[in-house]
Amino acid sequence: MQRRDFFKQTLTLAGGAVVGTTFSEASQQVETLHPVDDRKVSDIAFPQKRPLITYSDRPPLLESPREVFTSPITPNDLFFVRWHMPMIPTYISKNRFTLHIHGAVERELKLSLKSLQTEFEQVELTAVLQCGGNSRTAFKPTAGGIQWGIGAMGCARWKGVRLKDVLAKAGLTKDARWIGFNGLEKAVYAETDNFVRALELEKLSDNIILAYEMNGEDLPYLNGYPLRLIIPGTYSDSWIKMISNIKVTKEKMRLHFMEHAYRIPDNECECETPDNLTQKTKPIEKMNVNSVIGYPVSGIKVKQGAELIVRGVAFDGGEGIAKVEVSTDGGTTWQEAKLDKDEAGRYAYRAFTHPITPKQGGTLSIMCRATNTKGETQPFPHEIKWNRGGYKYNGIDEVTVKVVV
C-alpha cells in the first residue's frame, strides 16, 4: 500500500479522528456542546451495508451518516450497528436456528424460526432503535463509551411475534418475575458472562416483539439476523440481537451488564459531576424527545435566494411528536415545520420538512427542535447536564452551511 493511501484510509476511519484530537488543560471543564459532526464514512463497507462511519471491526461499531435522517424509514444497509462482544456468528442456518425458552416456565421450549412464523400471530410495528449513548461526543469531559456522533439510531418496520405470546406458550409459573435474554454473540474467553439483559415481567407489553424481518427483509446479520428483540420506546440496550435464549426467573439475576452498564444518576436532573459521582443509579429505559436534521449537512454550499428544503426526523419514547420547529437565527425565533402524516405509529420517526430561502451570504445556522404531546421539548446543548456514561443526549440539533452569492 502506498503511504499516501494508508494515510487517506486512516483519516476515513472515525478512530483516526479521535486520535487526532488534542486536549488542553481545560478538558475537565464540565460542559455540553454539539456532538461531533465531521466524520466521514469509511471506504470499507461491511457485509450487507453501505460504507458507514466505522469505529471498530471487532466487534463491528458503525454509525449512520447524517444524510440518512431525511427518511422516516432507515434502509437496512444504512442502519447503524453496535455489538458488545467481539465474536459474532458469520453464518446461521435458518433451518437449524432455535430460540430456547426455559427457567420458571411450565414447558421448556425450543422454537424454530418456522414455528415462530407459523404457530403465532404475526405482528408488525415501526419503531426507532437508538443507542443510549447516541451523541455521546457532546459531553465534556469525555464520557466513557463509544464516541458516537448523532447517527447511532435508525427507524425500521419490524415484523415478528409478540414476546408475550411466546411466553404464554411456555406457560409462566406463578412466581416468575424476570425475563433474561441473550443472543449468540460471545466474548473471547468462555468464562466471560454473556451479554444478558433482563426485563421485569410487569413491564411486558403487547408491543414487545421478537422480530425476524426488518423493512420487509431478513434482518442483516449485523442487526441481529435471524431474530432480535424489539422494545419500542426504550433505548436499544436490551434489544438483544441474534436472540437465542430466554430464561425466566423468580429472582432478579445478578448481571454485569444490568448492574454496571446503561445507567444514569437516579435524581431529578439525571446528572452528576466528575468530582461528585452519584451513588444511586437507574436504568436509562424510556427515550426522551429528539430530532435531527438530515438535510442540509454541515459544510455544504447553498445559493443565496434559492429555496432550500430542510429535512429531518423527530421521535420520542412513545408519547408522540406534537411539533418540530426550525430556527435560522441561532434559536431566537422558531418556525413550525411540516410534519408527515402520523401513519406509522407513536414509536416511529416523524419526518419533517421546512423550506427556507437564505437572504444573505455567509455562514447560516439551521436548528431543529421537537416537542412531544406531553410538552417535553429539546434543550439547547449547553443546557444538558453531564453524566458519566454520556447517555440520553437530546440537545437541539444544528447544522451550518455556507450561503454563496
Binding site: 478512530g15 486520535v19 475537565q28 471487532r58 453464518y91 435458518k94 469525555t142 464516541q147
Partner: protein, 106 residues
C-alpha cells in the same frame, strides 16, 4: 450429453429445495487496521488488548484520565478474563495514558 445436463439440473433443483430455500450464505467480516500511536509499551499493549477486540474499540472511549484507563484494564481482567498479569497492568495503563490520555490523573 443433453441427458447429463438435465440430470445435473434436476440434482441442483433437488438439493436447493431440500435445504428449504435458505438463500443466506453467511457473511465475511472485513479486517480494518486501527493504527496504534507508537510509544513505550505499544507492543505489550497490542498483544494484551487486541487479541480480544479491535484497537478501534479501545480508542473510541475518547481521551481519558489515568484512573479511567486503569479502571478499564482492571474491568477487562475481572469481567472479561483478559490474560493480563497484575505486574503488567501499569505498563498498559501508562501506554494508554501517555498516548490516549486527557492530562488528568483522576
Amino acid at each position: 450429453m443433453r441427458s447429463v445436463i438435465k440430470l445435473t439440473a434436476a440434482i441442483i433443483v433437488c438439493s436447493t429445495t431440500a435445504t428449504f430455500a435458505d438463500s443466506n450464505k453467511g457473511i465475511k467480516m472485513p479486517y480494518i487496521e486501527f493504527p496504534m500511536k507508537p510509544g513505550k509499551g505499544m507492543y505489550s499493549t497490542k498483544g494484551k488488548c487486541n487479541m480480544c477486540h479491535s484497537w478501534g474499540y479501545t480508542i473510541n472511549q475518547g481521551p481519558q484520565s489515568k484512573a479511567f484507563w486503569r479502571k478499564k484494564v482492571i474491568k477487562m481482567i475481572e469481567v472479561f478474563h483478559a490474560p493480563i498479569k497484575n505486574e503488567d497492568i501499569e505498563e498498559v495503563v501508562a501506554y494508554l495514558y501517555a498516548n490516549y490520555g486527557n492530562g488528568e490523573e483522576d
